[in-house]
């Protein structure tokens, strides 16, 4: 299709008034969108209780700031158009004074920039993913078995000859690997402030891991619709000092059931 117009971006185009106006708008909007976008979201997410959650929050920050120039660019052009000539009424306005159908430079730039941003997002994501995966193989980790059922979670602890609890207890600064399964339907094991989640599938074990780094009581919720009382399938995780954790573990009655982790070790 022939370009019926003289190209817009020729000569000293950056000195044009409307280009300058859009540029200023762009910078302001980038700062605004980036700041508001990160602050609102990060504040809503609350204080992290593990490095995993800190990573999630950092990812939200990075992606928001990376996306804000693009969003601001579209917004600047949209606002620029709205502030330009507007026409009200039942009959169409006169034709616009140009008939630009194309701009190879703008298109090439747009595609290259969006491809680079895509690559950036991928690399950032892969680095974070690699950290999460590496944690699963940590030799120092303790292994806890998580069983979901309608509508409660049960936890089996290692080295305890069969301690089972409904409220999860974790020692602080200790890597933990969770082996998650379900007795009936699919559930999803979500340690909210710790930033990890993994589905509990019947007949299968799935793994996730986390190192809590803050003492306190946090939330565990089921994040997959699992029937009648799905909304109530939530409980607490108590992160405590290593000594408190050991004391709690010793004080628990022995159910006599060995945990599956030990069964696997014996096999």
């Amino acid at each position: 299709m022939p370009d019926t117009n003289t190209p817009y971006f020729t000569g000293q185009w950056w000195k044009r008034k409307d280009v300058k106006r859009h540029a200023v708008l762009w910078v302001i909007l980038t700062a605004f969108i980036g700041y508001v976008g990160t602050e609102v979201q990060v504040r809503a997410m609350g204080a992290p209780a593990s490095e995993t959650m800190e990573n999630v929050i950092n990812l939200m920050r990075i992606f928001t700031w990376a996306a804000s120039p693009v969003a601001a660019f579209a917004a600047a052009i949209a606002i620029g158009a709205l502030m330009g000539k507007r026409h009200y009424g039942d009959n169409p306005p006169p034709e616009s004074e140009h008939a630009i159908r194309n701009s190879p430079r703008a298109i090439a730039l747009w595609i290259v920039v969006s491809a680079l941003m895509c690559l950036f997002a991928l690399v950032v994501g892969l680095i974070a993913l690699q950290k999460d995966d590496a944690r699963l193989l940590d030799a120092k980790a303790i292994h806890i078995n998580v069983v979901g059922q309608q509508w409660a979670w049960n936890y089996d602890y290692p080295g305890s000859a069969g301690v089972r609890s409904e409220v999860l207890h974790l020692p602080v600064d200790q890597p933990v690997v969770f082996h998650v399964t379900s007795k009936d339907v699919k559930h999803s094991f979500w340690l909210v402030q710790l930033g990890v989640k993994i589905d509990a599938n019947p007949g299968q074990f799935t793994e996730t891991s986390v190192t809590p780094n803050k003492i306190g009581t946090f939330d565990i919720r089921c994040a997959e619709l699992c029937g009648l009382l799905h909304a109530y399938m939530q409980n607490k995780v108590i992160v405590e000092s290593k000594a408190d954790y050991e004391a709690w573990l010793a004080s628990q009655p022995d159910t006599g059931k060995t945990t599956w982790v030990e069964e696997k070790a014996a096999a």
Binding site: M1, M45, I77, H87, S96, A99, I107, A128, K186
Partner: protein, 624 residues
């Protein structure tokens, strides 16, 4: 004097010779359907043996329910007249000319809307009305959800009923948004836009619409026998455990998938084969690309959906174990099948809505579409990539952790073609002359909403961030931003834009403006509130929540009520204008595409002489 016999031509005085078709309409369809269902029900009740001790729960009841529903379906399709023509054809005859004219709804007035009418304009109006009905019901269900979430304890709706309301709201809104552009506008406007007299297969066109009506009944039926307590995704093994109402969902999906496949084949063939002389692919309007991309994408997606539900039904009724882990099946199999449909499906919804706005952008800025080629490439790119991203719904399912990285790659790649659609829209706005109408402002609304929907999609595409966000209200808010904020905004703009051609009257300007602002403001209030509770940690599909989520849910409820008000205003505008609005001129927007060259009301077969196209439809702007 000549002895030659003149060929007899039917005059308007003669009664046309029309066989059994004359007696068939929606009422006979409901009657025959109900009767067949009752007969099948009684027969299966009497004949089916009792379950053996070892059989899983519900099997006999499931068989009876499914058989009765199939009976309904066959009866309804017979009663509406879908089988008349195939039957004649098998007998070596075919429909007569009179019968074909009757089927096309010639000189029939409003009765044609209640029959198996083949005229694409009748089908378009039927789709428009049923879409509005679906949105009405889905909206009421949404308000019930919000009402129950008014307080943290929830509780005035029983959890089972609440889960069912959530599931039903989900699935019918998905269906409503799937048909909201390609149904009314793809059927009514598209054939005129490409300069055709009708669709390639007019009877299939009628079939695709009446299949949706046939599908609706099992879904409603299901509500009375236990409901759909699984959410719209109906994951197994939860669906296997759910009450009999689940069979309603299964039948609904199977019949709706048939409708989508039929419509997809029909629309694709029409666009490929029946464009006017001279309408090369470079001169084909971008809306046509959007419609064809949407239905063509549904062609591989919906057979998979159909299959997944057939297997689900067999697990329930016939004791198979496709999804039963204890007997060798896998819930992950269901998730895979579901999302192989489910991710293309969101683009089935989104693409035609965005394409409709791209079609309107040049009209309301009075300049050419910026880079038609990039728009086509963007649509094609989305279609291609959208079938490769499904497992991003399963990052945390544990199905294949090693595949998380590749699926993160494909998911993030899709932002490139999506960005192209943004480029086309902002490029068209750049230095345009804005004609301030509801469709124009809808372009801005789409840019805003789709930007939020798109950027939140980037967080969700990232595996570690998704491990926090998945299954939370954040996801719910995200897909409402894409499907409703972008999709529905495009569809409502399309309604305002094409209303004059479809009804012959202008849509009330004042009311449509009021509705636009109420819906857009309400929408952003509602779903920004939902983002926040998601980030705070509220899971999806809960009927009660911790007290910290109270504020965000209140905000969402206020926003939802505002949307509802806005939609009611729009409904009033549509009904009022349809009945007694200002008569529309032939081309109220001074647009250049072919649908504006036919008179109001559009005559049967649209064009007296078929148009010849010599340039594309975007020749606006002064050529310097």
């Amino acid at each position: 004097m000549t002895t030659m016999m003149e060929r007899p031509t039917p005059t308007s005085g003669d009664a046309p010779k029309v066989g059994i078709i004359r007696h068939l309409n929606v009422f006979t369809a409901f009657a025959v359907g109900a009767l067949t269902a009752i007969i099948v029900w009684r027969l299966s009740l009497a004949l089916l043996p009792a379950d053996s001790e070892s059989a899983p729960l519900f099997t006999r009841e499931d068989k009876i329910t499914l058989l009765s529903m199939i009976g309904w379906f066959v009866g309804f399709m017979t009663g509406i007249g879908a089988l008349v023509a195939p039957f004649r054809w098998v007998m070596g005859k075919d429909l007569s000319h009179d019968e074909n004219m009757f089927l096309a709804g010639k000189d029939m007035g409003t009765k044609r809307y209640f029959r198996y009418t083949t005229d694409h304009k009748v089908v378009g109006i039927q789709y428009l009305v049923i879409t509005m009905v679906i949105f009405g019901i889905g909206g009421i269900l949404a308000m019930l959800i919000r009402a129950n979430l008014g307080t943290p304890e929830g509780g005035w709706i029983h959890p089972q009923a609440y889960n069912s309301i959530v599931g039903t709201h989900g699935i019918i809104m998905i269906v409503g948004t799937i048909i909201m552009v390609t149904g009314p506008f793809g059927n009514y406007i598209m054939p005129i836009m490409i300069g055709a007299r009708d669709m390639a297969f007019p009877r299939l066109n009628a079939l695709s619409f009446w299949l949706i009506v046939a599908a609706a009944i099992p879904l409603i039926w299901g509500q009375f026998i236990g409901g759909i307590s699984t959410g719209w995704s109906a994951y197994n093994p939860l669906a296997g455990q759910a009450p009999l109402g689940m069979n309603g969902y299964i039948m609904f999906i199977c019949i709706f998938a048939l409708s989508t496949m039929v419509a997809g084949a029909n629309i694709t063939t029409t666009v490929v084969r029946m464009r006017a002389k001279g309408m090369t692919w470079n001169r084909t309007p971008i809306f046509i690309y959007g419609v064809v991309a949407s239905v063509a994408l549904a062609l591989p997606a919906f057979p998979v959906f159909f299959l997944s539900q057939v297997m689900s039904g067999m697990d329930r009724a016939l004791g198979t174990s496709f999804y039963d882990t204890a007997r060798g099946g896998s819930g992950w199999l269901y998730e895979n099948l579901f999302w192989i449909m489910g991710h293309p499906e969101v683009y089935v919804i989104l693409i035609p809505a965005v394409a409709a706005l791209m079609e309107m952008a040049p009209v309301f800025t009075r300049r050419p579409l910026f880079s038609f080629n990039v728009a086509v490439m963007g649509i094609a790119g989305i279609c291609g990539l959208s079938v490769l991203v499904w497992a991003h719904h399963m990052y945390i399912s544990g199905w294949a952790p090693l595949l998380n990285a590749p699926f993160m790659l494909t998911t993030e790649l899709i932002s490139i073609p999506t960005g192209m659609l943004f480029l086309v829209l902002i490029g068209t706005l750049w230095r345009g002359r804005l004609w301030m109408t509801v469709p124009t402002m809808s372009i801005f609304a789409l840019l805003w909403n789709f930007m939020i929907g798109g950027v939140t999609g980037i967080y969700l595409s990232d595996v570690p961030a998704d491990a926090f966000l998945h299954g939370s209200m954040y996801v719910t808010a995200h897909f409402h931003y894409t499907l409703m904020g972008a999709g529905l905004t495009g569809a409502l703009a399309a309604l305002v834009y094409w209303f004059p051609k479809m009804t012959g009257r202008m849509l009330d300007k004042k009311l449509s403006w009021i509705s636009f602002w109420l819906v857009q403001i309400g929408f952003n209030v509602a779903f920004i509130g939902m983002f926040l509770v998601g980030l705070q940690g509220q899971p999806r599909r809960v009927e009660a929540y911790a007290a910290i989520f109270n504020k965000g849910n209140l905000v969402t409820s206020i926003g939802a009520a505002t949307i509802m008000t806005g939609m009611l205003v729009l409904l009033a505008a549509v009904i009022g204008s349809w009945r007694s609005g200002v008569k529309a001129p032939m081309n109220p927007w001074q647009a250049k595409s072919l649908e504006w060259t036919v008179p109001n009301p559009v005559p049967l077969e649209n064009f007296e002489t078929l148009p010849v196209v010599t340039e594309d439809v975007y020749g606006y702007g002064r050529k310097n």
